[in-house]
Symmetry: C2
Subunit: 216 residues, 2 copies
């Protein structure tokens, strides 16, 4: 039986691929695992039946028989651990890829999300501009460090892995702010991820959900 993931019935990003089901779809496409999707309204996500599966009322969840997981990073790791193609087989290289998976979601993503949330939720506040002037350098500091690490390599550590999948997904969240554009190697890195056939299939699938929601 195929696993089932949850996703927004109508994604707030209007199908740009920034909702976190995209990471799981991409991982499933990379390993060639078909999947089912259960779409949720914002109301359903906050109801007790869903909170019993996902205590924070977020998408995606991942169901595989009796097992229910959440957190896109953890789900991507689960897929990577149980299929070939997303983690190196060499023990040390595998441990380093897992380091980069955690780094993507816990070192890179928090300032990126804080930056994005401020733009959405605080752009009308009197402190928006002066506080952005404090926050943007923190995002730039992380981007500069990541750019220095990547250098002219294609991927973070050897071959493409689940770490690249998560890191590229994080960097994509800066698309509208154009902050990544100042780092040509990072911009090329994101483009390299987006050019992968598995990414393209996952992107098309989530876009089709959004377009169907608009056609109703």
């Amino acid at each position: 039986m195929n696993p089932t993931i949850t996703a927004f019935e109508t994604s707030p990003d209007r199908g740009q691929g920034l909702a976190r089901d995209m990471r799981v779809r991409w991982a499933l496409e990379e390993v060639g695992q078909p999947y089912e999707v259960r779409l949720l309204s914002f109301k359903e996500m906050k109801e007790p039946a869903y909170l019993a599966l996902q205590p924070f009322g977020q998408i995606p969840t991942y169901r595989e028989g009796e097992l229910v997981l959440f957190d896109s990073g953890a789900i991507v790791f689960h897929i990577a651990e149980h299929h070939a193609g997303l983690l190196p087989s060499d023990t040390n290289a595998r441990a380093r890829a897992i380091t980069w998976m955690f780094t993507a979601v816990s070192t890179m993503e928090p300032p990126v999300v804080e930056h994005g949330m401020m733009k959405i939720a605080e752009s009308g506040e009197p402190w928006f501009e002066p506080r952005m002037a404090l926050l943007e350098p923190r995002v730039h500091a992380r981007l500069a460090q990541l750019s220095a690490h990547l250098g002219d390599a294609d991927w973070l550590d050897g071959a493409f892995s689940a770490a690249d999948l998560l890191m590229i997904s994080v960097l994509q969240r800066l698309r509208s702010s154009k902050l990544v554009d100042g780092y040509p190697n990072l911009a090329a890195y994101v483009a390299r991820g987006e050019a992968r056939p598995a990414y393209q299939r996952a992107f098309a699938a989530q876009l089709a959900v959004f377009e169907a929601s608009q056609a109703r």
Copy 2:
């Protein structure tokens, strides 16, 4: 040969156990693995030799022969994967524990760190109070969701695991703000973690480093 971790020569938290080497020390103590510590000055952490190991100039790193890892969540996972005692042996329970590890560092920790950083870096800004009035409810929302999940259980999912270790470490960062005190089951959960002998040994070890730095 024992693994070597890096830590602050003089921790900015003055030995309160909030620096991220504490998570790794605690994990190593839980599994009974002795370790060495290499102390770093703030200057050394930003030098090219260290940045080659840790691209973001942070502690801790973890060295085990040829392998160098960073990111405290990833290091705790590595320890948990290679020793008994920090992850369940049942396949599904193990996957759920990993879900909670990612959730601790990528869902719970970001608003907690944003809250703490604001208190440190923006308390003199004119927007401090009105913005805190926006941010605190976001932290409370996460705490309420976590509290509802935990209920009257001792740990997040069955027996104590690496997920509890990380989650308790995140909640400890709210100690000075007392935000956790409004959730008696979470306060008891943190206390339960801190009462573990392995936690006590790790805490004493990091405090001894700080005290030695002050005696010089």
